[in-house]
Amino acid sequence: MTTAASKPEAGRETTTEKDKGLRAYRQMVRIRLFEEQVNELYTRALMPGLAHLYSGEEAVAVGICEALRIDDYITSTHRGHGHCLAKGASPDRMFAELLGKEAGYCRGKGGSMHIADPATGNLGANAIVGGSVGIATGAAFAAKRLGNGRVAVCFFGEGALGQGSLYEVMNLAQLWKLPVIYVCENNLYNEYTHFSETTAGTILGRAAAFGIEAASVDGQDVRAVHEVATRLVQRARAGEGPTFLQADTYRYSGHHVGDINREYYRSKQEEQHWKTERDPIKLHANWLLSQSQADAATLEQITTEARAEMETAVKFAIATPYPSVDQVEQDVYA
C-alpha cells in the first residue's frame, strides 16, 4: 500500500481540490488554536481536571475525518479534542464541556475526556486506554446489520496496543467483515514511556496476524493521511471489511498539561525537531503555497478567523452557567 500523496499536475487542480486543501488547513489550525486556549485555561486555573493536548497530531484526525460522512462513527481517546473538532463538533460547546458547564456537549457531566455528540457520529471520547475498541466495532456491526452504509473509525494511541480487548475485537471484525478502521496514532509515548519499551514486535504485524489489511502513513502529512483514509473508508463502505492504519505522529506537549519537566523521557532537541521540521500545519502551508493553492495572506486570514472563533468560544464557555446541582441524578438511567 502506498502512503505518499499523489502530486496533482500543474494547472489540473480543480476548485474542489483547492477547497479541500484549504479546508484541511483550516481544520488543523482550528485544532491547534483550540488546544492553545485549553492550555491557557488550564494554566490560568480556569479549567478543572486534566487536559491532554492533541497539538502536533492534527493531520491524523483531519486527514481521516475529512474522508468521513457526518453520520459515520468515530470513537476517540483521552486526547480527543482534535477528533471531536475534525468530526464537526463546535468549539463553544466543547469549551463549555471542558469547564463543566451545562451548555457543554455532555451537560458538563463528561468533561475533556468524554465528549460525545450523536449529531456528528461521535460515540464518545474514552478515558480507558483501548476502552472504545468494542464500541467502535459494535457500531460497525450495527451499521452492517442495518445496511446504512456507515463506517466506524476507532482512534487509539499506541499505548492501547498493550490492551487485549483490542485484539479480541480485531479478530471479531475480520471474522465478520465489519466496516471499521482501527487508527493507531503512534505519537511514540505511552504516557511517559517510549513505545519501544512497551511494544514487542511490529505494530502492523498485529493486524497481519488477523489477516487485516494494514498500512502506515506519515501522520504529519495531512494529504497522505487523507489519501489513504479515503481508500480505507471506501473499502469499508464497499463491504470489504476492517483495516488498520498506523499513523506516525508526535505529541508536542506532555502527556497532560501538567507534564512539564519531560527530559527524563524525551529530549528538548527531539521535541524541537518535530516542531520545526515535522509540523503538520507548516508542512501543509508550504505545500499550499508551493502549489499556488493559497497565498500567505489567505493562510493568515484563516488563522485570524480561527483565533477569533476560539476566543469567542472560550468567552461563551466562561460566561455560560454551571448545571444546577439538582441535575446530578439526571441521566443515570435512560
Partner: protein
Amino acid sequence: MPERELTFAQAVREALAEEMRRDSRVCIFGEDVAEAGTPFKVLSGLVEEFGAERVVDTPISEAGFTGVGVGAAMTGLRPVVDIMFGDFLTLTMDQMVNQAAKAHYMSGGHWRVPMVMRTTLGATRRSAAQHSQSLHAWFSHVPGLKVVLPSTPYDAKGLLKTAIRDENPVVFFEDKMMYKLKGPVPAEDYTIPLGVADVKRVGKDITLVATSSMVQVALGAAIMLEREGISAEVVDPRTTWPLDEKTIIESAKKTSRVIVLDEGYGRYGVTAELAAVIAEGAFYDLDAPVKRMGAMHVPIPFSPPLEDVTVPTEETVSEAARQLCNKG
C-alpha cells in the same frame, strides 16, 4: 383448561423468541449460542428461526463481544449478550462498568445502551470455584446498570421481556440449577416491571427476603416452619436495582423478624444492602436483629460435602428462623 407449565429454560427461550419476533433489532451474541444453543440448551431452536445473523456465535472473547454489544446497542440494535457462566463476568467488567453503565450519563443523556447481558449464578453443580459464583452484587453496586434475578419460570419470562425493552444496560442472572424447574407460564404476552418485589408467600411471624436461587430455598424452609407453627412470609425483590424497598420494609414491619438470603458472598454483598435497607426503614418495628445468610466467604470448593455447606439450605434457613423466633 389446565394451566400451561414451562421449565425455567423454556420460559427464557420463549421470552427471547417473542421479543425477536416483535423487534428485528433484537439479536443475541455469545459463545455457542447458535447451533449448540449454549451448554445449558437454553437457546435451542433460536438460530433455526432467526438465522445466524441474529443469533451470533462468537469466539471465546467475553470482553470483545460484550464491547461489540455495547457499541451495537448505542447505534441501533438491541443485543442480548450471553455470558455462559457468571464467573466469566470478570472478563467483561470494563465493558460493563466503565462503558455500558456510564455512556448515557457521561454523554449528558445523549447516547443510550439498550443491552441485556444474560448470565448464570449458583453453586452445588459440582463445578468448582470458577464456575459456581454468584456475582450479581458487583453489578448492583454500579450506577447505570440494572440487575434482574428471576426465581420462577413466570418471572423469568416476564422480566426478560421487560429487560429487552428497557433503554438501559440490564444484567439478567439465571440460576443454572433452576433451568429444569417447572412452573405456570401463561401463553399470552405479559411483562413484569423492574423494581417491583413479589410476595411469594404470605406469612406473619417472620420475613424471608430471598433472591434468585434462594427463593425456592426460602419457600421450602417456610413449609418446614409451618409445621412447627411459624408462619413465614417470603419476599422476592426480583431486581436488586431498581430495588423495591417499600415492599421489603412493609413486610419487615409486619412480621418484625427478618432473614435476608442471597447466594452471593455474604460479606459486602446483596444481603448486607438488604439488611441495611431494613434497618433504616423498619428498625423500631423489629423484634430481633436482621439475620444475613449468603454464600460462605470461601472460593466454592469442588468436593460435594464441602460445596454443600457453602450455601444456605432449607435446613439452615429454618434453623435460623427458629432461633430468631425464639423457638430454636
